[in-house]
């Protein structure tokens, strides 16, 4: 009985294995190409579904572009060549890391500028508030009142 169960399990396991192998076939064709394709396409935006990367998108165009990248890699193009290929067609917008240039200065340094601005505003505000608080000694009457309040015995218990 046990022997039969293990044989059955083995058969099942090998069956699912063969299924997996079949599905993965187009990916495994050339692992190096596929790896580079994924690396490049994770740096690129899918223009159809703008918040997804090209490697993660299921859009029709993303499929086509991944195929295009595979072809370019097999043609011996460098990663930079492929980036240029995409940018020359779809613009800097396809890159998740846009290049540093005149039109993207604000994009790159805007957050730092806002942070510095906030910091300066905070320091100025705190300083001004510090100056606004003046030390005024208590009058004799106030002193007495304070002492009275502090010396009140807690009653009960």
């Amino acid at each position: 009985m046990r022997v039969w169960i293990s044989i059955l399990l083995l058969a099942l396991a090998s069956f699912s294995f063969s299924l997996q192998a079949k599905e993965a076939a187009p990916l495994a064709q050339d692992e190096a190409v596929e790896k580079r394709m994924v690396a490049i396409s994770s740096e690129l935006r899918c223009l159809v579904c703008q918040n997804e990367s090209l490697s993660g998108s299921n859009a029709e165009l993303a499929n086509d572009l991944r195929r295009e990248i595979r072809t370019l890699i097999s043609d011996g193009k460098s990663d930079n060549d492929i980036m240029d290929f995409m940018v020359s067609r779809y613009g800097d917008f396809v890159r998740y890391r846009p290049p540093l240039k005149g039109t993207t200065l604000l994009l790159w340094f805007g957050p730092a500028l806002l942070f510095i601005g906030g910091l300066v505003a905070l320091v100025l505000y705190l300083r001004r508030r510090n100056l606004a608080i003046r030390d005024t000694p208590l009058s004799a009457k106030e002193q007495q009142q304070a002492e009275h309040l502090l010396n009140v015995k807690v009653s009960g218990k």
Binding site: V48, Q50, D64, R89, Y90
Partner: protein, 194 residues
């Protein structure tokens, strides 16, 4: 006074930024191809599949390359505008039929042979043009979308205005509204035709 002034200014700035930002069209990605020569291609003509068309054939003319497809819903919305355009005889329209068969998710195109795909694309697109009117002086078939990639097409319909020297002067993404035609495209055509 000062206590309320700064928050008020901040609020006003925010309102302005949001009004401008939310009214921008995120689909309107500036094309790097504007100002560059239109990418060359050679594709089969819809009316005569044994002949090919190349943008070179249009040198010396101002023309519009309109990317369309029968499965594209917005193209249907745009189509009457194109038909009107063609009637006015002010423009030469060339249609780039984009992935007629492969782009239609209802068809399992992997199972089709190249010949069968071509035949199907020809039949579908010519039937559609017969039904809705044909504004194009000619249409070409980009079955696998490779030419589309060279033109940076990422959504159908898209339209390119190409000048006499074969340089792309404008790219319009999405359907052309009558306003966009009279306000944006027509003035440019007039300027380029001079």
């Amino acid at each position: 006074m000062n206590r309320f002034l700064w928050p008020l200014i901040g609020f006003a700035v925010l309102v302005v930024l949001l009004t401008v930002g939310l009214n921008l069209n995120p689909r309107d990605v500036p094309s790097p191809l504007v100002g560059k020569p239109a990418p060359l291609f050679s594709l089969a003509k819809l009316a005569a599949p044994d002949q090919t068309f190349s943008p070179k054939d249009m040198l010396g003319k101002v023309w519009l390359l309109n990317v369309w497809s029968t499965w594209c819903v917005s193209c249907r919305q745009e189509h009457p505008v194109l038909v009107e355009m063609a009637k006015s005889k002010m423009v030469t329209l060339v249609g780039l039929n984009y992935k007629e068969v492969r782009g239609d998710s209802n068809i399992d195109s992997d199972k089709l042979s190249a010949d069968a795909e071509m035949k199907m694309a020809l039949e579908r697109s010519s039937t559609w043009l017969r039904k809705h009117g044909d504004p194009y002086s000619l249409s070409v078939l980009d079955l696998d979308g490779r030419v589309g990639i060279d033109y940076g097409v990422y959504g159908v319909p898209e339209t390119y205005v190409i000048d006499k020297a074969g340089v792309i002067r404008l790219k319009h993404t999405g359907p052309i509204s009558p306003d966009a035609f009279s306000g944006k495209i027509l003035p440019l055509l007039a300027e380029l035709s001079r």
